[in-house]
């Protein structure tokens, strides 16, 4: 019984990690429909940004979002305008371009650091809270809490602000949105910027948990795609819940089956869900059929 509780706790906390990584991707993939390989790199920038901020000013990584988030918003917007917007009618070329961005980013970091692994320092590292017999790492609790807050904030933003409504309109039907006078391009730029900024936030919050290497972003990106598609494209709640589905599946499979197989299990579950319910758990039915063609 204790085992079960412990594993469920681990799964929920891991779900928080996936949820915070996926929330930005969900916006980008769900609204702009770009398979953005570079999304993991935005997380990497967040991680290294927190490290750089600490080296430069001694700042605690939990304060680093104050700098990193705006920087990544601008970076995301610029990448969208310069690279992805010109390719909006060639979705496959977009995939390819984001892949190029990924290579540039990984290898630029490698060239700068020589591949030496870095870690940040924070007062919270290694601290844990005990819930009865269950141990919980404090830094993971923070991630879970922020993931919840950010999801709520994004949901409110999309529901109640003018820009948010525009984003939703474009996600649902680009052509109709354009006919309604929404400036689709501006919405996309905004969305990409927000998506990148959220990934940067995730990176900062994850920095106390991980040792950074130039390739680390890739470790997040594939599960994050699974989370987003599983939860349902364009559904903020879906990405949040999807995070926990993947987190719990991984924790249970890792403990009861074999840690070496957990990766396979989450992707099998992912494919199974996708096949049974292609729109994801919370997605709008039919979204998956929009596919690549409906881009004009």
């Amino acid at each position: 019984m204790l085992d079960v509780l412990n594993i469920l706790t681990v799964g929920v906390l891991l779900g928080g990690i996936y949820a915070i990584v996926a929330v930005g991707l969900n916006l980008i993939f769900g609204v702009i429909r770009v398979v953005n390989f570079a999304q993991g790199e935005f997380v990497t920038f967040g991680l290294y940004g927190a490290y750089a901020a600490q080296i430069a000013t001694g700042m605690d990584p939990y304060l680093a979002p104050l700098i990193v988030v705006p920087v990544l918003f601008v970076l995301g917007a610029v990448i969208y305008i310069v690279i992805l917007r010109p390719l909006q009618n060639d979705p496959m070329m977009q995939v390819f371009a984001t892949f190029g961005i990924l290579m540039v980013s990984q290898n630029a970091i490698l060239a700068l650091t020589g591949g030496v692994a870095y870690s940040v320092q924070s007062a919270f590292i290694g601290m844990s809270v005990s819930l009865g017999p269950i141990q919980i790492g404090l830094s993971r609790v923070i991630v879970l809490a922020v993931a919840t807050l950010v999801t709520a904030a994004v949901a409110l933003y999309l529901r109640h602000t003018r820009n948010g409504k525009a984003i939703r309109a474009v996600a649902q039907d680009r052509t109709a949105a354009r006919l309604m006078g929404i400036r689709v391009e501006t919405v996309y730029t905004l969305t990409f910027g927000i998506g990148a900024a959220l990934a940067g936030l995730a990176g900062c919050l994850l920095s106390p948990l991980y040792t950074m290497t130039p390739q680390i972003g890739m470790n997040f990106i594939l599960p994050a795609f699974a989370v987003v598609v599983l939860g349902g494209l364009g559904s903020v709640l879906g990405a949040f819940v999807g995070g926990f589905v993947v987190g719990l599946t991984e924790a249970l499979a890792g403990f009861y089956l074999d840690p070496a197989l957990k990766h396979a299990v989450i992707f099998i579950v992912f494919i199974a869900v996708l096949v049974v319910r292609p729109s994801g758990l919370f997605g709008v039915a039919g979204a998956e059929e929009v596919g690549l063609r409906d881009q004009n």
Binding site: I83, L87, D90, A97, G100, H263, I271, V275
Partner: protein
């Protein structure tokens, strides 16, 4: 004037009509080999280039003609390599023979796993194929009887044509050229076959194709099976060429799965010679960058390659072939 006009209208053409061009292309590639016949380094680069040309041409069948943007073709590549490697090690079966079961197995697996996944379209399909790669790799690491687990296995250096193992790089290059020839020949046929037209109709509009009476799922499955079988043949050749395999190399997203798609996009997706052109550009460039920059700045070669890829995406949006056609169109418009 009328002459250019004629060449501009989409030619229906025929399989036989493609053969002279194919023959000329292959002869040109052969001449390149002859030209470098005493430069082992270049011959080896060419062998690798031709291998990828064949792989990309195979991918193009379902990815380009069929419009199903698979990022999981490394699975079929790996099936070919494992099958040939195992049959060679355990039963000393010549790779010339084991090619056949390798291709058959890959086609069967491809059709089986694609059946459900073909319900998905566009980026969803791509992501699902990515996930399949991850599953396959994890299983290959875990169930080690046929794969050697994480450590993989290697095939001893037993020279001989029957083993496809050569000391002379020229022979490797010729073998790979043969692979390119076979894949191109099949694509030339496909381009003008009922299957090919159906695939292209599905790519252009799945619903219209269905309305026009094309059995969409069956066509996609056959296209995928053919593509996977040829991919597996490439895997078999790779096995006997590099002779060391492990799951991380075979299922590599970047070195196989994404690369074949990327090469095709660079060259011209859905065209017969696009994948070949893309490979002729990308693989030697990659080798050159690695040789010149790889040792001086860590990651320097891949950094430059990444920048070039982004630029290619931006400025060769329709691939080399598409851009050439576009250029010809503009020149014609200017003259008119």
């Amino acid at each position: 004037m009328t002459k250019t006009e004629l060449s501009r209208t989409p030619r229906i053409g025929s399989f036989a009509g493609e053969l002279p061009v194919l023959g000329a292309v292959l002869a040109a590639l052969g001449l390149v080999l002859l030209f470098y016949s005493d430069d082992s380094f270049t011959l080896n680069t060419l062998a690798g280039t031709f291998l990828f040309a064949g792989l990309a041409t195979s991918w193009n069948i379902i990815g380009g003609f069929g419009g199903q943007f698979s990022l999981g073709h490394s699975v079929f590549f790996a099936i070919g390599a494992y099958m040939t490697g195992n049959l060679f090690l355990k039963y000393e079966l010549s790779p010339w023979i084991s090619l056949l079961p390798a291709m058959a197995l890959a086609a069967a697996v491809a059709m089986l796993i694609s059946w459900p996944v073909f319900r998905l379209r566009g980026p969803f399909f791509s992501i699902a194929t990515l996930a399949l790669t991850e599953v396959a790799m994890a299983l290959a690491v875990y169930f080690s009887t046929w794969t050697g687990g994480a450590q993989g296995f290697s095939v001893p250096f037993k020279r001989g044509l029957e083993n496809m193992i050569f000391a002379e790089r020229m022979n490797n290059a010729l073998l790979m050229l043969g692979y390119v020839a076979v894949t191109l020949l099949i694509v030339c046929w496909l381009r003008h076959s009922r299957l090919g037209y159906s695939l292209q109709a599905i790519r252009d509009n799945e619903d219209t194709a269905e309305a026009a009476g094309i059995a969409v799922l069956r066509t996609k499955l056959i296209g995928m099976g053919l593509s996977a079988a040829l991919m597996a043949a490439g895997g078999s050749l790779y096995m006997m060429y590099v002779r060391v395999v492990d799951p991380y190399a075979l299922f590599s997203l970047f070195d196989v799965g994404v690369k074949v798609a990327m090469i095709t996009l660079i060259g011209g997706i859905g065209t017969i010679y696009g994948p070949l052109l893309g490979t002729l550009l990308l693989i030697p460039l990659e080798n050159l960058l690695r040789a010149e920059l790889g040792a001086s700045v860590p990651g320097g070669n891949l950094l430059v390659l990444g920048v070039l890829l982004v630029l290619t995406a931006l400025y060769l949006r329709r691939g080399i072939i598409g851009s050439l056609i576009g250029l010809a169109d503009r020149m014609k418009a200017a003259r008119a």
